[in-house]
Subunit: 210 residues, 4 copies
DNA sequence: AATGAATGAGGGTTCATTCAT
DNA sequence: TATGAATGAACCCTCATTCAT
């Protein structure tokens, strides 16, 4: 444990100017994220997280006061980083479709801890039980929904159509259903490929953006 | 606690001719289901399940060799009883829509343990981690998917259209996305009402059944 | 651990008709008492108490919800059983003196866990810090003080003197000071013998009961 | 926390010519004393002591090799500074009484860390368990006892009486009982006032000094 | 001299599982 | 068949102590 303080294999957050504390927090979160994806919030133990972060269990508590704080932080960060958080760069029907397929592929390949279907499922299940987590999830979800609705209006206008805020809001909701439903499909239908998915997605999205 | 005071309020599985062992198993599963919905698979303790089933913890082990066997059984049963398991009675576009709204309402009201958004989320998250559970979930999911595809073909034919098996399979998949996405929405968008949802659902389903 | 469920060497509370739960609680308290005397409330660990009671740590929690409940129970029991709790059988100057010497001897010999100078000191120190414990200690102390005051009035009347309630209360307080001060002396002056103490005690008690 | 902002409010030990090391030790002891009074020897953490002393935990170990060394030092210092350490200036019956009332008032008001009932109780309880601490406590106690005995002889002679060394020793012991018993009373009888205590104390002390 | 990050053993507590009754 | 007392490993977390800086 003495040496090797380099970044872990899949480390995220490689920004340049971070204090030591910020780097440690990020390191813990990276480790926790991987553990939570592998085992879930409850089954992942602090010892496991510590081992993954290659530090002692006690040290974690210098940066997070309790395990549930890590859970909270992971959930917040995850909802921010999640592909669909960057909805503001969506401008056309094609963009929506591309973004979803991109997320789908990441989920499927399990190559990017910041894009994990298991985590989204777990996190939402947890929100259904824990009011504190529910607050966080709903807060982020509202922001995402609003941005998505704006993007839909933008895309409609580009095609010469008009969409009331309310209509856009409803369609955003359906797009979110689709998106999140794909998280289920990734787990449940391993044989589904992106290429088979694309035309289906295009069809539905077309119906929702006109 | 001394004697059996009859079936619990929300007891399921009241079939007529069951052996004692089957009835006991069902009783345990009913209790476990409620506990799992309330707390999740990990946070629900055997003691809690036993208390809910009004039996001793020890007795549970006469019917299930371990907690994870209960989880397995719950997941199997849940996927069978889940609203969309009865897809064979679906005959028209309107049926699809009605069935989804029905599920949505149950999830929202949390009045029927056999229809729980939290459980579906949890169960799928668990499947993403545990290969044994994954097998079960995928097995059930394939059956559901197939039946749904058949129902879609049936509905299309009724309207005079033709749909290849492959095309039907793809549309079934999108319907499932929508359905499961609603499980997310129930948790994340409490302000969404069935009446606001219906026209949106109709629009998408229309696109998927023509 | 399998056999030997007999009473521990210094077991107290051997009443005849106790439920199993009551016996277990007593067994835990007996063990805790010994541990607390040996190490103090904080340094005595649940593992140590469990080992002393010859049971597993987990089992203790069937009978006490937390360590501080054991501390509470020990303190309550101790203040009840403590020699000076039986103040009502005190009738004369000689009785006061005898009772104190008796306690002194028990403290010195450390042969009776229910009479421990270390415990009284610790318990009172703890009361100075923990409001919950303070309440318990003050509650018991008031009862003891009241009974002691009545005993002093009784003894005075026997000698033909009159003592106002207030005066009796004050003298009771001084007797308590003396008594508790002896707990210090037991620790700090090992060379002090009961025979050397008696005349001194008689002198002071005489001054306080006339 | 960045720099040294001068002595803490209640700092003790302001002697003129102290080495840096001595000043640091005193600073640590002042902080430890306050922590020990507030929380007790075990519950007070090194981190807490360090924060109170406004230094880093690591630095403490340059001046004390272990926590128990701080405890030892605090106990030694406390028994030296404690009110009754200055027994040599006691010359008359009135002096004894005044000194006790003074201590009582300090204990009650909790305004002077060098006069703490909680600490005396804790320290003596600790001595009952730890042989090393017992040695320290007994050593100091003997000195105090001897000085008190001499003071009693002095006071007696002033009134024209004669007191053997042995008799004076016994009476000193009783005075100490009284004194230490008051430490209990401060905790257990908050409603006891100095004015109510004085006549009682005078009565007992009179009996012990004639 | 001084910091405070880091360690890891040990604390209180929970809980799946077993077993005597 | 049924109980629930009992076990002990594992959980989350704290803290005395060390050490690179």
């Amino acid at each position: 444990m003495s040496s090797d303080t380099g970044p872990a294999p899949h480390a995220r957050s490689a920004s340049p100017a971070l204090t030591r504390a910020e780097r440690q927090r990020a390191r813990i979160l990276d480790a926790a994220e991987r553990c939570f994806i592998e085992r879930g919030f409850h089954a992942a133990s602090m010892a496991h997280i510590a081992a993954t972060a290659r530090m002692s269990p006690g040290l974690i508590y210098r940066y997070f006061s309790a395990k549930h704080e890590i859970v909270r932080a992971i959930i917040e960060r995850h909802l921010e980083t999640e592909g669909y958080a960057a909805m503001q760069s969506l401008n056309s029907r094609e963009d929506f479709c591309a973004r979803m397929l991109e997320a789908f592929e990441h989920w499927r390949r399990r190559d990017d801890p910041s894009m994990s279907a298991a985590l989204i499922l777990d996190l939402t299940a947890e929100a259904a039980r824990d009011p504190q987590i529910l607050d966080i999830v709903r807060g982020k979800d509202q922001i995402i929904g609003k941005e998505l609705a704006v993007a839909i209006q933008r895309a409609a206008r580009k095609e010469g159509a008009r969409l009331s805020t309310e209509a856009a809001w409803g369609r955003a909701m359906m797009l979110q259903c689709l998106y999140e439903g794909l998280a289920f499909r990734v787990v449940r239908t391993p044989e589904l490929s992106a290429s088979a998915l694309r035309p289906l997605l295009e069809k539905v999205i077309a119906a929702l953006t006109t």
